[in-house]
Every structure is written in C-alpha cells, then in structure tokens.
C-alpha cells in the first residue's frame, strides 16, 4: 500500500505512528486507508510536530585563541586592541617611561598651560579641539551667542566692563611667556631652548626624536661644523646628546634645580628682587644685604655705568631697559637713582656705556645657615 514516507498523506501520519507503536492494524479515520504493522514499520517514522530549527552545537572550549573565528557580536581582542592587563609582563616592563620622558612631558605641559586653547599646544601634538563644536563638527548650542555680544539696552550693567581689566592680560600662558623671557634675559641659550620647546617640542615621535629636533634647531654653526669632523660612529651620538644637554639645562632652569651655587642667577630670585626693589625703592646694596640676611644671595653679574660710575646689579634692571627721565642719561633702573616715583621712564635699547665688573663679594655677612668656621 504505502511504501514510502513521502507518499503518506498528512491525514495518515497519526495513524501510521499509532500502528508503529502498538503493532496493530488500523484505519485512517479521514481517508480510510488501512495500515498493517509490517507495512507501517517499513514506512519511515513520520514527524508528528514541525521540525525544530537546526541549532549548531557549541564549539568546544579551547585554551588558545588561535584559529577561533570571532563572533560578530563580540569585540575580540587582537594585537591592536589588547588591554594592558592582557599584554605579557615582559612587554609591559619594556614600555615603562623613564624619568627623562616624564620630566620632559611635564615641562612641555607647563610651557603650554593653555592646552586646548587657540594654539592647540600639546606635548603629544594632538590637534586643537574647538570649544564651540562637538566631536562630530556640529556647533554647540549657544556657541554663536558666545561669539557675538549684542548690546540690546542702554542700562548700566551691574558689573562694569572694566572691573576685571587689571587681570585681563594675566593668563597662565602670559605668565609662562614672561617666565621664558625672564630666563632668556639672564641665560639666552636656555631661553631659546624653552622657547623652541614651547613652540615645536613634541613627544609624538619619542624622546630621542625630540632631542635630535632640538639640536637641529638650536645648535650653533660652529658646533654643527665640528660634528661633521667627527668619525661616523661618534657622530651618531653628537646630535641627540647635544639636544639632551640643552633640554636638561632648560628643565633645570625652569624648575630652579641644580647645585646651590648654580642658583645665583636664578631668574625667580632676580624677578623677585626686581619687584621688591621697584616697590620699596631700596638700592641694590640694601637689597643685597637684606637678601644675604635671608640666605638668598644674588650673584648675578653686575655692571658699572660709564656715565655715573655707579654699580648696576643685573637683578635690579628692568627686562625692557629704560631711560631715566630725571637725569636723562644712561640706562638705569629707577631705584638706582632713587626715583621710584618717576613714571616718565621710556623704553630704550641697552646702553653701550656699561662695562662688566666683578660680582660683589657676598661674604660681608655670613649666611645664617652656613656652617661655622672650623
């Protein structure tokens, strides 16, 4: 009768299954076909329910990721996305930053306090981030209002426009620029290094590349000519070594580091001395004595004026250079002549009538912290 499962009508499925299970002859109640036990056994067991969707067996768990196919729903770690905890310990150890690297990054950050500002300075040379746009380039709500200030009334504002004018020009970037200028006034080479680092210094290519770039930009011509005379195996060390030396000197000057005798030309103290002198009207000799009492000695090179014959200490000079409005001669700090109230000083260039003289002997008063003589 029925010799194949595909010939079984849908109505006979239940009947065939019953015959196969009970081994009894039965009739299909719909079509009336009769099924014997031997016939029904020859028929493939019919499926009474719809077939379940095929489920792939889960892959066996493996100890290694090699050869595993990444699931599209899961972000698989590869070489480029490995977490630090996934890297081998030896690899991590080899990437630990050195002290020079950290100090150079700190210096670059301090030289560029307005990172994210219009200049976009950053130690890693990341592009500037506009403050009025989102990451996808859309204008932030209110950005246009921040750019334009429209006067819509004539009433007097509660805060007058000039209320904070005295602080308007003093930003962190201005302070850094003034500090670089002050250092460059005392030690021009270090000032040039700091200025170059502020403008062009980057760690994007590594520390050694920074040293080489600094040396390329800052090396004098005679030193460069001397490098070319060196043997090749020595020459490779000259440029990064020179850059390293210049950057190290700049860091020491910026943070006032070094041996105690090296801070005699400390620009910080020079600046403090200049401010104190201009505010108190004390002469340079009095100021030296006061500083010696505090243990702060200023051995900055002093100069003698060929016009008046008096000594000018470098830390009492103004960085810009001024012409005394009272005597009209020379190139003096106002305090030297005792005219602190004089406001008619005009900026001028350096006076040519100044000659070097030895620094004053600071041994008139022993330092309080100095060891007693044996």
């Amino acid at each position: 009768m029925n010799d194949a499962s595909e010939t079984i009508a849908d109505c006979c499925r239940l009947t065939v299954a019953r015959v196969q299970r009970l081994q009894r002859r039965a009739l299909c109640p719909v079509c009336g076909t009769e099924y014997a036990p031997d016939e029904a056994t020859a028929i493939e067991r019919p499926a009474l329910l719809p077939a379940a969707p095929t489920v792939e067996a889960p892959a066996p768990r493996r100890a290694s990721r090699l050869g595993a196919q990444p699931d599209a729903r899961v972000q698989v770690a590869d070489e480029a996305k490995l977490r630090p905890s996934s890297t081998a310990p030896v690899e991590r150890i080899t990437h630990v930053e050195g002290d020079d690297h950290a100090r150079t990054r700190r210096l670059l950050i301090e030289l560029r306090p307005d990172k994210g500002g219009p200049l976009g300075w950053a130690p890693d040379a990341t592009p500037p981030k506009p403050t009025d746009r989102t990451d996808d380039g859309h204008l932030v709500l209110g950005a246009l209002a921040n750019r334009m200030r429209v006067q819509t009334s004539v009433e007097v504002p509660s805060i007058l426009p000039g209320a904070f004018a005295s602080r308007a020009g003093v930003t962190a970037g201005t302070a850094a620029a003034q500090r670089i200028a002050a250092i460059g006034y005392v030690v021009p080479e270090v000032g040039a290094t700091l200025g170059w680092l502020q403008r062009f210094g980057t760690l994007a290519k590594g520390l050694r590349a920074l040293y080489s770039d600094a040396a390329d930009a800052l090396v004098p011509d005679d030193v460069r000519a001397g490098w070319k005379k060196l043997p090749a195996v020595v020459q490779v060390a000259a440029k990064p070594g020179y850059g390293h030396r210049r950057v190290t000197e700049a860091m020491a000057a910026w943070w006032g580091e070094g041996a105690p005798e090296a801070d005699r030309a400390s620009t910080e103290r020079a600046e403090i001395g200049r401010i104190v002198a201009s505010q108190t009207g004390r002469t340079s000799t009095e100021l030296d004595a006061a500083l010696a009492g505090l243990g702060a000695r200023l051995d900055a090179p002093s100069m003698r004026c060929a016009t008046c014959g008096k000594v000018h200490h470098l830390h009492l000079w103004t960085a810009e250079g001024r012409l005394c409005g009272v005597c009209g001669e020379g190139y003096y700090a106002a305090v030297h002549h005792g005219h602190p109230e004089d406001t008619s000083l005009t900026p001028e260039g350096p006076c040519d009538d100044l000659t070097d003289i030895p620094a004053p002997e600071p041994t008139a008063e022993p330092r309080p912290d100095a060891d007693p003589p044996a």
């Binding site: 050195g98 590594g206 520390l207 050694r208 040293y211 030193v223 020595v234 060390a237 020179y242």
Partner: protein
C-alpha cells in the same frame, strides 16, 4: 661625575642597549676615551666588577663638536 655609564647615555641613545653599543664602538677609538670603571653602590662603596664608561669631559667635547686628538 667624571664618567658616564651606559645608563647615563640612555636618554640620548634611546635605550640602554644602544648606549652600550655606542660605548662598544668607541672602545677602539682614541676619542672619546672609554674606560672600565669600578661599579659603585649609591653610597660609594665598590660592589664588585667593572663597567664600561666614557669620560665626561670627552663626552662634553663630543656633543659640542670639539674633536680632541689623542695625546
């Protein structure tokens, strides 16, 4: 500091390994002078062994392009 070890040259060289290569290449040259120096602990006590080092004044001449002929 009268001598500079490979660790002192490492910032300029990039790695200590490169600094050691520099010192190894300079050993046969009359300038800069590379010598063996006793290894010292931070407190100044010798801890045994020696280490290659370049004279600090020679290295200073080197980076400033001053080629000094051997005496």
């Amino acid at each position: 500091m009268t001598h500079l070890f490979a660790e002192d040259l490492a910032p300029a060289a990039g790695t200590v390994r490169t600094a050691r290569r520099w010192l190894a290449a300079w050993r046969d040259l009359p300038f800069p002078r590379v010598v063996q120096v006793q290894r010292l602990a931070p407190d100044g006590q010798p801890i045994g062994g020696v280490q290659w080092a370049v004279r600090a004044d020679d290295y200073d001449d080197l980076i400033h392009g001053r080629l000094r002929q051997a005496a």
